[in-house]
Symmetry: C2
């Protein structure tokens, strides 16, 4: 019987190899040859999956985003309002080494997106999705009376989203071995301000 | 008389050329040859100023940081507390095309810093300097009674700093022609939360 190749599975293997290589060598060092070697592929065998490093990076970004969303789905299940917002943010913040690795994929993607309108659009669509989620949590919190501040929720959501993006940079550039540069405390301080009663 | 060459001046010319090239071609396209061409230098003439693209990028980052700090010095002159904090943030936020161009220098620097401890340390030192400035504005605001929220100022300052970093990404990846993706409103919403009275 011919060996059945699960192409999705192999793509994910390549993404994992890409991660390890980027973590070790940086995005410039992550050549297709290095990635193939790391994943145990022959050099030319990557081409059918990812014709260029660029397509691989875009796929890896999408994979990080989807995986984060899966985790968000799990941690926010059954929650609404501020508890849901907190769980969402805690999941997006790079609070462990796995998520710091993800930040190391996402930052090179942003850098490429500066001169690549298609990548920039992918980023913006992801952010719009998260912005809508935050807005919904805020609307629930207002309904419950846990949030009553006289501020525009869209602006608050945009602000928080930018903080979550900046946190990826802070974590990726933290000193070796330091995983969380105070990000949990920053989130809690913000939620305290948000929940304050006038 | 021999022509007097102002080396600092020439370095800044090169930084300006680097900017224009990065804006046009992205960091990968910004070869030393392209930068020399743009600045009107002979190909080898860059070497005495910047032996590598890397040294040029680090210098450009330092230049953006110093220039931002000069502008901060001007706009915060004579201000303290929340007015100073607002002026500081407005200056750091990429609210015009010049500062969006600066974000386009800073993001590639961050990306390089992921695998370059020296660059990461430069980033962290810059952020510590800004963190200290924000803390001072917050202490003044507490003294004046304009801020009385029961939150840790160091966490608030870290949160705000991360928002300012994330804003660079939001602006650099905004659709062509859109300069401010709502960043001013986000800042105002945050300051409203910060100033709320319990």
């Amino acid at each position: 019987m011919p060996k059945i190749v699960d192409h999705d599975e192999r793509r994910l293997e390549l993404v994992d190899a890409t991660w390890r290589i980027i973590a070790r060598l940086g995005i410039e060092g992550a050549t297709m040859r290095e990635i193939a070697l790391e994943a145990g592929f022959a050099n030319g065998a990557l081409k059918p999956y990812f014709p260029t490093k660029d397509t691989l990076l875009t796929f890896a970004f999408g994979h990080v985003f989807n995986r984060t969303n899966e985790r968000i789905g799990e941690v926010t299940a059954g929650k609404t309002g501020i508890p849901a917002l907190r769980a969402f943010c805690v999941e997006v913040l790079p609070l462990d080494s796995e998520r710091v690795s993800e930040a190391r994929i996402v930052i090179p993607f942003w850098q490429k997106a500066i001169n690549d309108p298609e990548k920039a659009a992918i980023h913006r669509e992801s952010m719009e999705q998260w912005h809508a989620a935050i807005l919904e949590y805020l609307a629930q919190a207002r309904e419950y009376g846990t949030v009553s501040a006289a501020v525009d929720d869209a602006a608050v959501a945009g602000h928080l989203l930018n903080m979550l993006l900046g946190a990826q940079i802070a974590a990726a550039l933290a000193p070796e071995g330091q995983v969380d540069p105070g990000l949990s405390e920053q989130l809690e301080a913000f939620l305290t301000l948000l929940e304050a009663k006038n």
